[in-house]
Structures are given as structure tokens and as C-alpha cells.
């Protein structure tokens, strides 16, 4: 018995988490799938009505906008945050004197609630109040920076603020990765005459592939769930130009009492995630297995 316990200990340790995830994630996804097939409004109901909620969803121009925004936002946000986070981590890794202070400065946006930071960003980006006004005040009358109020560009301001908020964390993640690389190997590369940038590109970064996976998942999660950011910064506007699936879903579920619709949108969101994450995951986990 004790022996059985011992050999299965790793599995036993993993089991509670796994079971919890099965119930509280996959059980709930199943629940959501069920609800998405009903006419639930204020509270969930369970009589299946077919795919009406999906029909409604696809008929909604606002959902189209939200999905398009998700692609733009997701790609830019993940891409830029990764690159920026990595660059900052590498720069910080150069034995900087004030590393602690700089690291905290880069990280702190994570600490601030977006409910309020959004307001600050709104002011900064508002052409009449913020940067544009300031630069104009310096005498550059032709300077314009009106993304916030331009329906075609507003989504990029969301990207800007999202990067501001999250890239610091990505940096921290990469920094931890960099610090786990064996120094001897870096030394060997230096001796090999490899320029520093190349050491990073060809030796350190490849050995951090798993950390990239972490960063990617975190960022993808933030992208797909970006919510208070949008609410605080643009409120989805101008119009609903900066709506994202998460805000759409929230609006449906809680402002509008349309839970069936929200469930349908959640299912589509998860399908999108599935389509993007699974191939990456597959290749990443495979590569590690050899």
C-alpha cells in the first residue's frame, strides 16, 4: 500500500489540480456550451432551443467588429509585448546599476487598476488634453495624434495601453528565464567569438523556448480577456469601434441580460483560442519530448 502510494505520488499530487480543472474549467465549458443552446436571459435556463444564439451572434455587426478587433489587438499586443519584454529583459541583464528601480518602473503598470489608469491614458491620448495638445503647445502646430477619437485607429490606442500594462511582466518572465541559463555556456559562446546579440539570439533564447510558451500563454490570455482596459480607456468606442469579444460578452451577460448570447460568444472565443493555441502547444510539447 505504502509502496503503491509512493510510486503514484506524482500522480496523486497532480490529481487534485487536475480534477479541479476538469470540473471548474471543462465542466463549466460544457455548461456554457449547453447554455449557448438555450434562450437564457437574466439567469440561465436549460431548455435547449438549438443554434439560435449563434445565428443571432453572427448576424450582429458588433460581434464582427469585436472579432476583427481581437485579431488586430491580439496579434499586435502579443507580438509587440513579447519582443519588447524580451528586449527589455536583455537590456536589464547587462549588469545595470539601478536594475531594481528600473525593473519596478517597468513592472508597476501591472499593479495599477485599469479602472483608473484608463482615465489617465484617456487624458494622455485625448487630442485636446494630452500629448497632442502638449506638443502643439511646444509650437509644433501640425502635430496630430488623434487615434483615440478616430474609429479606425482607436483600437491601436488600446494596444498601446495594453502593452504598457503587460510588457513589464513579460520582461520579468524573460528575466527569470535569462537568469536560469548556465553562465558557463554564455562564456563558451563569448570565447567562440560570438557577438553578444548573437549569443542571445542563437543560444540563450532557444534554450528559453519553454519560457516563451509561458509568455505566449499569459499574453494570449490577457488578449482574449482584455476587458477593463477597453472599458476604462474607450468604453468600446468611438461607437463600438474598439469592442472586443470579452467586452461584447460582458455586455451581453450582465448589462443586457442576454446570457444565452453571452454563452454563444464565449464558445466562439474559446474555439478561436483553441485554433491558435493548440498547434503551438503541440509543437512545443513535442519538441521537448525527444
Amino acid at each position: 500500500m505504502a509502496k503503491w502510494f509512493e510510486t503514484h505520488l506524482p500522480k496523486i499530487v497532480l490529481a487534485p489540480s487536475f480534477i479541479a480543472i476538469l470540473i471548474f474549467v471543462y465542466g463549466f465549458i460544457a455548461w456554457t456550451a449547453w447554455v449557448s443552446l438555450t434562450r437564457s436571459r437574466l439567469l440561465p435556463r436549460y431548455e435547449i432551443e438549438g443554434f439560435i444564439q449563434y445565428d443571432r451572434l453572427f448576424a450582429s455587426p458588433r460581434w464582427d467588429t469585436a472579432m476583427n478587433n481581437l485579431y488586430i489587438f491580439g496579434a499586435l499586443f502579443i507580438g509587440v509585448s513579447m519582443i519588447l519584454g524580451l528586449i527589455l529583459a536583455i537590456l536589464l541583464d547587462q549588469q545595470i546599476r539601478v536594475e531594481g528601480a528600473i525593473r519596478t518602473i517597468y513592472l508597476y503598470p501591472m499593479a495599477l487598476s485599469m479602472i483608473v489608469t484608463g482615465t489617465a491614458w484617456k487624458w494622455i491620448l485625448n487630442p485636446g488634453l494630452g500629448l497632442e495638445a502638449m506638443v502643439k503647445g511646444w509650437g509644433y502646430e501640425n502635430f496630430t495624434f488623434d487615434w483615440l477619437v478616430n474609429p479606425d485607429m482607436a483600437i491601436y490606442t488600446v494596444v498601446l495601453a495594453a502593452i504598457w500594462q503587460s510588457s513589464g511582466f513579460v520582461m520579468a518572465l524573460f528575466l527569470a528565464g535569462l537568469r536560469s541559463v548556465d553562465t558557463e555556456i554564455i562564456r563558451a559562446a563569448q570565447i567562440d567569438g560570438i557577438p553578444t546579440w548573437r549569443v542571445y539570439v542563437s543560444i540563450i533564447i532557444p534554450s528559453m523556448a519553454p519560457i516563451f510558451l509561458s509568455a505566449f500563454i499569459v499574453l494570449a490570455h490577457l488578449a482574449i480577456k482584455a476587458f477593463d482596459l477597453v472599458i476604462a480607456l474607450t468604453g468600446g468606442g468611438p461607437g463600438y469601434a474598439t469592442d472586443l469579444p470579452a467586452t461584447y460578452m460582458y455586455a451581453m451577460a450582465f448589462s443586457r441580460g442576454d446570457i444565452g448570447q453571452a454563452a454563444a460568444s464565449a464558445m466562439i472565443m474559446m474555439l478561436v483560442v483553441f485554433a491558435i493555441v493548440v498547434p503551438y502547444l503541440y509543437s512545443e510539447l513535442r519538441a521537448r519530448n525527444d
Binding site: 480543472i21 439567469l43 545595470i96 489608469t117 513589464g168 520579468a172
Partner: protein, 304 residues
């Protein structure tokens, strides 16, 4: 040649020229300039928030939002901390702090520890199917919290912990697990397998190896995990508002109550001050935990 007698150490290192080649110095400067520019980008909103929090409401209404305050006033800070109304009580965010601490500290610790153990199992004690379990846990990170709310409320009701702090801790632990597991697993796969081998031979079992060998090695990733979880939990609003009741509401709900008035007068200075105050514990965590981004924990462990 065979002089073994100790020669006095050279008169310190001062004789060595401190200066380096011009290119190096320039590069170093460039590095600091780039870092500084990014610091500006990151600090800009904080600057706006800070200056606003130090202005009077009068000045905000009439003045330039980005300008420095004409005269400093700390009223907003005091108000935010202990006087602002968050409902019929007007005691600022102070009373809610404790709730958040009670909630965040255990939730962070539990989820980090569980994540570390899960990551350890998946990375170093591979068994068939471990990768699939990992993938399933990862995918769990993506479940939108909005869809979780209602069934979770029902579950918490059934479990009898609805509206309590343990209930909130439970929720945060569950939905933090995917991330902490991810962080640790991905950190642990880069640690040489020889260490586990050596420890096994030394007679250490699963648990022992984890606590004695892996945990001390994981300091940077613990920092990352703690930063992430603490931020997520401390700043969480949705779960906090849904699964709490009067008396167990976290500080974000208070902050939200101060900030979000639809039909009342907006006091931006208090809002900003409250937001900064609410963020202080997180900042503290960053500063304290940040110290442990140490290089070279694995140094000297194995050859090749």
C-alpha cells in the same frame, strides 16, 4: 622562480585605468538612454495620476490635466485612504485593505505552491499522459471569467462558502493554477535531470527532492509567479464583486465604488489617489520580490 614567500598584494586596483574604449562607453550610455526612454513611457500615466491626485478638484475642472499642480494638496490622499465614501460608509479604502490581504496572501501562496508541485511533476516526473494533462491545464487559462461566474456561484453556494473569503480564495486558486503550473513546468524543464537522479540515489523521495532541491532553485520563477498571482488576485474585481458579500469585499470593489459614480460628482484627485494607494501592496511585492532575480542559481551543478 621558486619564490614562495608571499608578496604583498598589489596596491589595490587603482592603478588600472578605469576608462574603457570610447565605443564601449558610448554603448553603455546608449543602453542607459534607451532604458531611460522606456522608463518615461512607463511612468507617463503614473505622472498624470500623481499630479492629478495632488491637485484640488477646482484646479482639475479648470486646468490643464497634464500640467503640474499649481499648489500641492494632500487632501485627496487622506480622503481616499480614510474618508471617501464607498457606499454609506465613508471610511475610504482602508477597511477593505485587510480583506484583500486575507484573500490575496493565502491564495497566492497556495496557488504558487500547487503550481510549483504540478510543474515539478510534469517536468521532472513524466508519466504517460502528463503532457496531455498539462495541455488541458493550460487551455484552462483561457476560459473567460465571465462564463465562470454563474456556475461558480452555484458551486460555491452548494459548497457553503459563497460570500466568504475562503470561497474567494478557492476561486482564485483554481483559476490561478493553470498559470502557476505553466510557469513552473516551463522553468523546471530547463533544469538538468541529473539533479533528480542524484537526489533519488541519495534516498530522497518525491516530496523531499521538491522541497530540498527544486524549490531553492526556483527563486526567480517563484518571484514571477508571486508577482503574477498577487497582481491578478489583488487587482481582481469580477470575482471579488461577485463572490463576496458585505464585509468581505476586497479593496478593488472599494476603489471601484469610489471611482465609478454614474450620477454623482466625479472627484478625479481622490480617484487617482485611491488607485495609487490600492496599488501600493502590489508595488511593495514587486520591490521586495524583485530582489530575488538572482543570476546563476544552477551554477556548478553539472558538467556539460
Amino acid at each position: 622562480m621558486t619564490d614562495v614567500s608571499a608578496t604583498p598584494a598589489p596596491a589595490a586596483t587603482s592603478e588600472r585605468p578605469r576608462g574603457r574604449s570610447f565605443g564601449k562607453i558610448a554603448l553603455r550610455w546608449l543602453l542607459y538612454i534607451v532604458l531611460g526612454l522606456f522608463a518615461l513611457y512607463y511612468l507617463m500615466p503614473l505622472f498624470v495620476m500623481l499630479t492629478t491626485s495632488l491637485k484640488s478638484l477646482e484646479e482639475i475642472r479648470t486646468g490643464d490635466l497634464l500640467s503640474l499642480p499649481r499648489e500641492l494638496t494632500f487632501d485627496a490622499w487622506r480622503t481616499a485612504w480614510s474618508e471617501a465614501c464607498t457606499g454609506i460608509q465613508c471610511e475610504g479604502v482602508k477597511p477593505y485593505f485587510w480583506n484583500s490581504v486575507m484573500l490575496a496572501v493565502p491564495a497566492v501562496l497556495i496557488s504558487t505552491l500547487l503550481g510549483a508541485m504540478n510543474g515539478y511533476v510534469i517536468a521532472q516526473w513524466r508519466f504517460p499522459g502528463a503532457n496531455i494533462i498539462f495541455a488541458l491545464m493550460l487551455f484552462g487559462c483561457f476560459i473567460p471569467f465571465q462564463v465562470v461566474l454563474l456556475p461558480m456561484a452555484r458551486m460555491l453556494g452548494l459548497m457553503g462558502i459563497a460570500g466568504t473569503i475562503p470561497g474567494l480564495i478557492f476561486v482564485h486558486v483554481i483559476y490561478g493554477l493553470g498559470f502557476t503550473t505553466l510557469f513552473f513546468r516551463n522553468y523546471y524543464v530547463t533544469i538538468p535531470v541529473e539533479l533528480v537522479k542524484a537526489a533519488k540515489v541519495d534516498g530522497a523521495g518525491f516530496v523531499r527532492i521538491f522541497f530540498a532541491i527544486f524549490l531553492p532553485l526556483s527563486i526567480p520563477i517563484i518571484v514571477v509567479s508571486v508577482i503574477w498571482q498577487f497582481t491578478q488576485i489583488w487587482n481582481d474585481f469580477l470575482f471579488g464583486v461577485s463572490f463576496s458579500q458585505a464585509g468581505t469585499q476586497p479593496v478593488t470593489v472599494a476603489l471601484n465604488n469610489i471611482v465609478n459614480s454614474t450620477t454623482g460628482v466625479k472627484e478625479y484627485n481622490v480617484d487617482m489617489a485611491a488607485a495609487i494607494i490600492a496599488a501600493l501592496p502590489t508595488l511593495l511585492v514587486y520591490i521586495v520580490a524583485g530582489k530575488y532575480f538572482i543570476r546563476g542559481l544552477t551554477a556548478g551543478s553539472v558538467k556539460g
